[in-house]
Symmetry: C2
Subunit: 274 residues, 2 copies
DNA sequence: TCGAAAAATGACAAATCGTCATTTTGCGAC
DNA sequence: GTCGCAAAATGACGATTTGTCATTTTTCGA
């Protein structure tokens, strides 16, 4: 019995320390990611070297490689962190009380806020999309990101389906709800790619990329005759309402309370690599 | 006098050989670019190493570095080659005899053909856009690409301006012709980014990205009330006419004469890096 | 055939990713 | 306290890759 008790105790104790260890490791991983993210933003993808990261984190390279199988795996981990944030933003946006058309606008507002709060995310998202790394990366991480993206999409698709069900929009030309999502996704992704580009949009005659994107999506949805058409209602007022009701804190953070601000500050640009 | 003649002769001769040299060098540069492009497509950006390229071209690395200041400079040169092709496609498209709305559709058809004929271009375009290399690259090359892109855009902007002039479309919300271009550009770029992604679009519920893109632009322009609305005319027939009248050879090359083909083969995917 | 200028070459330096033998640390047992 | 083992951390090292530059080779007119 005594032995058994001891044994149980030891087991418990051992498990307790093991749990603590896990927490510590998790915490360290987040610390590494924080520093890596900063580096990625400031110095670009090639500028974020594993040696430099090891120096900055004050851990050795070997330790970092215990967390991530390779550099791309690390970038993927960064993407997951922010992608799950985006998922949360989208979910909150979709709860907006209003017509389906307004709920779609809410998702657009969510994306806009998301990009402003996490400007680095888009860059790493592009890197992940561009680099072929399916076979080098931790499978779990791969699936996690995939699932996250899928949930983001299905949040939007669900709104489309609801709209179809309520008769707010009719899908023509054999379009599926997913095709509609694809259209919105394209515009958003393309706009952010161009906005993050080295050549300022202003040199291409575009004053405010975000505003242009908002109007492009507006016209796209109007073209589908998704009612109410945004000519019929006060578009700007809806955006303001969404920001106030769903994202008060984030709006405060980004716009400092100037909810109705029209000409928005442009996104930060990457520092040139050294 | 004699000396003068000799001197003139020598100068002429020297210039002639110099011209020949220049031609040879130019020719070699194109040969290098051809091989580099193949390598870029087959092995991806990291897989196209300068050593391998030197081997494949049967020149030394030093010689290659006499043509290009760095790897990015070479990729930029590749981009320029195809971008000027795109410019030509756009210019031809804009000559389509028809309503302004149809001429915009023609540009869309041009882009679609372009991406199919030069599938590698988009990848290098993204690389150029993602990597900060403004300061490493030959300034001339930088400007050349920039000018090329600008001409592509202004071809489209010109159609928009004509449309406004003819009353085919009214720009609301303070939109400029360039803002309209931006909208179209976003959709196109986003769609191709997503289509070139590792995750097949079919897993996201999108059967045919090109088709979805076509409809997205259609709805976008319909939403702007750019007449004639494409519900009012036979959209598919216009596309076929454009392919037949403006791009017969290219259509043949891509679709093998099946001009009206609806479900198009998906774009080739990058071979995994070695 | 000669010689100078131009061009080609590839060894080399520097940087980077990822590995792994070696060292250090953590922790329970006595 | 200290012993010993397992787990974790370390950084030197191998393999690549980019870009340079002293040296060799070629070109071409005299």
């Amino acid at each position: 019995m005594t032995i058994c008790h001891f044994s149980t105790y030891r087991l418990k104790n051992s498990m307790a320390t093991s749990e603590r260890k896990k927490r510590q490791i998790k915490q360290r991983e987040e610390m590494i990611l924080d520093i890596a993210r900063k580096m990625l933003v400031e110095r670009g993808y090639p500028g974020m070297s594993m040696d430099r990261l090891a120096d900055a984190t004050e851990y050795s390279k070997g330790t970092i490689y215990q967390h991530f199988t390779c550099k791309e795996d690390l970038v993927l981990a960064l993407s997951i962190q922010t992608m799950s944030k985006r998922e949360e933003f989208f979910r909150r946006a979709s709860t907006f009380q209003g017509r389906t058309r307004e709920r779609i606008v809410a998702v657009g507002v969510a994306e806009d806020l998301f990009v402003r709060i996490y400007p680095y995310h888009f860059r790493s998202e592009q890197i992940v999309r561009l680099t072929s790394l399916r076979d080098k990366v931790t499978p779990l991480r791969n699936e996690t990101l995939d699932a996250c993206e899928r949930r983001c999409l299905s949040t939007v698709a669900e709104i489309v389906r609801t709209a179809v069900g309520q008769g707010d929009v009719v899908l023509r030309d054999g379009m599926t709800p997913e095709d509609v999502c694809f259209g919105l996704w394209c515009m958003t992704m393309g706009a952010h790619t161009l906005m993050a580009s080295e050549i300022p949009l202003s040199e291409r005659g575009v004053r405010d990329g975000s505003k242009s994107l908002r109007f492009a999506t507006k016209y796209f949805l109007d073209g589908m005759e998704w009612t109410p058409l945004m000519n019929d209602v006060d578009f700007g007022a809806t955006v303001v309402r969404i920001r106030e009701e769903i994202f008060p804190a984030e709006t405060q953070q980004v716009f400092g309370g100037r909810v109705a601000e029209k000409s928005l500050p442009s996104l930060p640009r990457q520092v040139s690599s050294s």
